[in-house]
């Protein structure tokens, strides 16, 4: 394989794509970590917050609701990334690969 890797590496569009994808991924990872750490730290430091009833009169606590919410959020964020990667990043990526292959054959 003629050095496709360095052809792509010199392409500014590759770096734009890679930066956009990384920024998106790291931001979402930060959201996930923050939400989970809030959960963990409340349990450790302020468990009373999670013992509060969600609405007056129910036995369901804020903690249970937060826990359920975390599971839903994780599925959602995973889905969001997969959707964007398959619909937006992948076609751009394929374009880069195809063009680099063409250029290397010239």
């Amino acid at each position: 394989m003629p050095d496709l890797s360095s052809i792509i590496d010199r392409d500014p569009r590759f770096h734009a794509l890679q930066r956009a994808r990384s920024r998106f991924a790291w931001r979402m990872a930060a959201v996930v970590l923050t939400c989970y750490y809030i959960f963990i730290l409340i349990i450790a430091w302020r468990p009373a917050l999670f013992a509060i009833a969600l609405t007056p009169g129910t036995v369901v606590t804020v903690g249970i609701a937060y826990g359920l919410g975390m599971i839903a959020l994780s599925i959602l964020l995973t889905g969001l990334y997969v959707w964007r990667a398959n619909h937006e990043f992948d076609p751009l990526n394929q374009e880069l690969l195809d063009e680099a292959t063409k250029n290397s054959l010239r």
């Binding site: 496709l4 890797s5 590759f14 990872a29 409340i42 430091w45 606590t61 398959n86």
Partner: protein
């Protein structure tokens, strides 16, 4: 012969319920329903193994199912790997005994999923071939890095297998009315058959079937629980509050994470460790490309998330229906068979003997399948990492690697049985600390730094990895669980149950500092190779594709 005895057992099964009930108070009866249903699973899985064995020739077939699994199937198989008996019975047991705190084990590990997708899965798929060590050795030195990762993988696999085998022993002797030792042998023989003959293809399908059974069984139990409360979660939780000795405490955090350090450390362990488990990550090599890998993550995350949601219902359902039912309690009022039986008793309370039998069979199948998944991960560490790349310096032939994989599977099966017999009676969810700590301490830093950080060098990885691993093991031994509870010393030397925060920090910091100080010619070459690796990891250039058959 086999057929007629099976028919007889089926007839017996029809007559059994009353009999089984009468015996329950004395000793666990032989549960014919459960055994029959488990035998159906065994027959199916062995059929699949036979089919898969004919298609398993090359190393790529053996360790990566030829790269031929679709995203959906792989998602189910990963669900099978993830949803172990610890998840089914351990979490229910924890909720049964500690209430809300048990949910920590449902909620927090799941955070590993988005992290795995966002930071690891895609790049791993683009760079690797069979094991997580592959991605590192594109630019780092083969032998030292592979030795480290393979050793850590084996520590991970063996620790995890112990958890499963211990769970199996308690459960199966309670449920099936067969001996602890018999149960261990059955599991040992089955996994060796699946893995040694059917390789990754058989293991994948066994996991897939088991995942479907597990999801179906758990859904059924939850449906029956909620139906009793006219589909009201509020009703279920109210009943749990009424039954629980501490009343509304069942809905509130208790003392599982007693201090902030333990809490942060437990979070580091579950989130980072969960995102980098070798037996899960190696499944990304069984799909044709990064796109299918992504899909499989999403399917897996959806199924696993759904399963964790069900644990909210199963755990509290057990509090509501098992805790005050004399049928499930011994003379002192304690739950028969220990808290790990909570989910199983709940099945009995909801659906009688038939559901009990089904859930028991699913639980047994779960253990067998998870141990099989771990065994193939262990076998890949031995054959691909250690044998082919360290001892034979990449010169081993395909046939040799497959042969070593099969032998490794046999050895791991024997080891699993031996260890299963050696350990007994621990709460299975707690014992998961070892593998998760190893995973977060060794695999996560190596994966992240090698994929994202140009300056990482072999010396950095090796120093940091071994130091982190040693720290993890030493702190675990000196901590409350082993030093105090198991070895019987009056006080632990290291005060925290979860050493991950410390071992992960040591691992990361050492890798970074040593790499920065590394000015050797090899380090220069390794840094220079980063651009190429980076492009490949991002674009999938030169990535492994599906095997041609």
């Amino acid at each position: 012969m086999k057929k007629s005895s099976a028919r007889m057992a089926a007839v017996l099964a029809a007559l059994m319920p009353g009999l089984a009930f009468a015996q329950a108070a004395v000793s666990p009866p032989t549960n014919v329903n459960a055994i029959m249903m488990f035998l159906v699973f065994v027959a199916m899985s062995l059929g699949i193994t036979y089919w898969a064995a004919g298609r398993t020739k090359s190393t790529k077939d053996f360790l990566a199912a030829g790269g031929s699994i679709s995203g959906f199937k792989n998602g189910l198989a990963i669900t099978g790997d993830w949803a172990s008996s610890a998840a089914l019975m351990g979490i229910a047991a924890l909720i049964y005994t500690t209430g809300f705190d048990g949910l920590i084990y449902s909620v927090v590990p799941f955070g590993a999923w988005p992290l795995m997708m966002l930071l690891i899965a895609e790049r791993l798929r683009n760079l690797g071939k069979f094991t997580i060590a592959d991605i590192v050795t594109l630019r780092l030195a083969r032998a030292p890095v592979r030795s480290l990762i393979a050793s850590a993988s084996l520590a991970f696999v063996v620790g995890y297998i112990i958890v499963q085998m211990v769970g199996a022993g308690t459960l199966i002797s309670n449920l099936f009315g067969i001996k602890y030792e018999t149960a261990q042998l059955v599991i040992g023989v089955l996994i060796v058959l699946y893995v040694a003959f059917g390789g990754m293809l058989a293991t994948t399908y066994v996991q897939l079937i088991k995942a479907v059974l597990l999801l179906a069984g758990a859904t059924l139990v939850c449906g029956l629980v909620l139906q009793r409360f006219h589909w009201s979660l509020e009703g279920l939780y109210s009943a749990a509050v009424t039954n629980y000795p501490g009343g509304s405490k069942v809905m509130q955090p208790g003392g599982m994470l007693p201090d902030p350090v333990s809490a942060i450390s437990c979070g580091v362990m579950l989130l980072l460790g969960g995102a980098s488990m070798p037996h899960v990550l190696m499944r990304f090599f069984t799909v044709p490309d990064a796109r299918e890998a992504r899909k499989s993550v999403f399917y897996a995350a959806s199924f696993i998330g759904y399963f964790y949601l069900l644990t909210f219902i199963i755990g509290y359902g057990a509090v509501a229906f098992v805790m005050k039912d004399p049928q499930f309690l011994d003379a002192t009022g304690a739950i028969i068979g220990g808290a790990n039986m909570a989910a199983i008793h709940l099945a009995m309370a909801m659906g009688g003997d038939l559901l009990l039998g089904f859930i028991s069979a699913v639980a047994f199948a779960t253990i067998v399948a998870v141990v099989a998944g771990l065994t193939i991960a262990g076998a890949s560490a031995i054959s691909h990492d250690l044998y082919a790349n360290v001892f034979r310096h990449g010169q081993a032939t395909d046939t040799e690697v497959v042969k070593v994989s099969r032998i490794a599977a046999l050895l791991l099966g024997v080891l699993g049985v031996v260890l299963g017999m050696a350990f007994k009676g621990q709460n299975i969810a707690y014992m998961i600390v070892l593998p998760f700590t190893v995973s977060s301490t060794v695999f996560f830093p190596i994966l992240i730094l090698s994929m994202y950080w140009r300056n990482l060098t072999t010396t950095g990885v090796v120093t940091g990895g071994w130091l982190g691993l040693a720290t993890a093991v030493i702190l675990l031994v000196l901590g409350p669980t082993i030093w105090q509870e198991i070895l019987g010393n009056p006080a632990p030397i290291f005060p925290y149950k979860y050493p991950a925060l410390f071992s992960v920090t040591i691992s990361f910091v050492t890798m970074i500092v040593v790499s920065l100080l590394d000015h050797s010619p090899r380090a220069q070459t390794e840094r220079a190779a980063f651009n190429d690796q980076f492009v490949r990891s991002q674009t999938g250039l030169g990535a492994e594709s599906a095997a041609q058959h």
